[in-house]
């Protein structure tokens, strides 16, 4: 028979206390549950709606890419338009050869120097963002 140390509970006696605590857990009352449920309702996100599928196009290399949106697209379009205007005013000789410039044929630049053919390109980095 195991010695009973009067100065401390035995492991079995202590375990019986733990078991009693496990068998009698404190139960939340209805008031506490109602308060917690109210917090849950107050902080719950609204039900999510199914997101619209993102539209993507297939590039020439076969890779699916998101379409350009927002300011990058506007910036590129603006740069392209500005370049077209620049061609029409600064290089009237080249204007007929610019894309979509058929209507502008015969802008009539009479007399030019060789340096007029020296390319003076604007910053293409903005245009290249479209590629």
């Amino acid at each position: 028979m195991a010695m009973n140390d009067q100065n401390r509970l035995s492991p079995d006696e202590l375990e019986a206390l733990f078991q009693a605590a496990r068998d009698h857990p404190p139960a939340p009352g209805p008031a506490l549950l109602a308060r917690v449920l109210a917090e849950a309702a107050a902080h719950q996100p609204p039900p999510r709606q199914a997101a619209a599928p993102r539209r993507r196009f297939v590039a020439a290399n076969g890779r699916r890419q998101a379409p350009l949106r927002g300011w990058p697209a506007l910036l590129g379009l603006s740069a392209a338009a500005a370049f077209g205007v620049w061609i029409g005013y600064a290089h009237p000789v080249l204007a007929p050869f610019a894309p979509g410039a058929g209507a502008m044929a015969g802008s009539g630049a009479a007399g030019f120097e060789l340096e007029d053919f020296e390319p003076r390109y604007p910053d293409f980095s903005l245009l290249l963002e479209e590629i």
């Binding site: 009067q6 733990f18 719950q44």
Partner: protein, 193 residues
């Protein structure tokens, strides 16, 4: 689709459903986790139900706020809740000098109670009172291990210490409890054996 409240869904699945706006998940989480937070807080706070309810409510509130940010694969919900509840309890313990509540009421005629149910309830209350005398970390480790039934690795994660440190804390805590309750052996229903 009604959510299963009987436990087929994990805590994490319920929390995810709550984060997506499912009201049934809100009810299921409340019913499943509030008792866990309250029980742990009661044992940490020497049985003070009013304080423990405040702590449990605050812990659940923090869980609901965390739900939209919850990342699967990180801490388990139960582990997270125990850690938050423990920290809230420790904050309250540090602000006040807690005195162990008298857990066992003396019967009028001085004899110990005889029914098994009364003995069990008295033992539970006596244990809570004895836990109040322990250092906070020992108390936390003992409660998580021997009342909440968690394994040492999970306790280590909750307390952010090593498994060896958990074992040391629980051993020292149990030794202190055994010594502190020795003079109550008879009233707790332990006769000479």
């Amino acid at each position: 689709m009604a959510l299963d409240l009987d436990g087929d869904l994990s805590d994490e699945a319920l929390l995810a459903a709550y984060g997506k706006g499912d009201p049934a998940a809100a009810r299921a989480l409340t019913l499943r986790l509030t008792p866990r937070a309250l029980g742990f807080a009661m044992r940490m706070l020497a049985g003070d139900r009013a304080e423990a309810e405040d702590v449990a409510q605050e812990a659940m509130l923090r869980l609901f706020r965390q739900a939209p940010l919850w990342r699967r694969g990180e801490a388990r919900v139960g582990t997270w809740l125990y850690r938050v509840t423990a920290n809230l309890c420790i904050d309250r313990l540090r602000k006040r000098r807690w005195v162990a509540l008298e857990a066992v009421e003396e019967p009028a005629d001085g004899r110990p109670p005889v029914t098994q149910r009364l003995i069990a309830q008295d033992r539970a209350r006596a244990l809570v009172a004895a836990l109040a005398a322990l250092p906070v970390r020992q108390k936390q480790a003992v409660v998580l291990r021997h009342i909440e039934g968690l394994a040492n690795p999970e306790i280590a994660e909750i307390m952010q210490i090593s498994v060896e440190a958990v074992e040391s804390l629980t051993a020292r805590g149990k030794r202190a409890l055994a010594q502190g309750l020795a003079d109550r052996r008879e009233e707790l229903g332990y006769g000479d054996e």
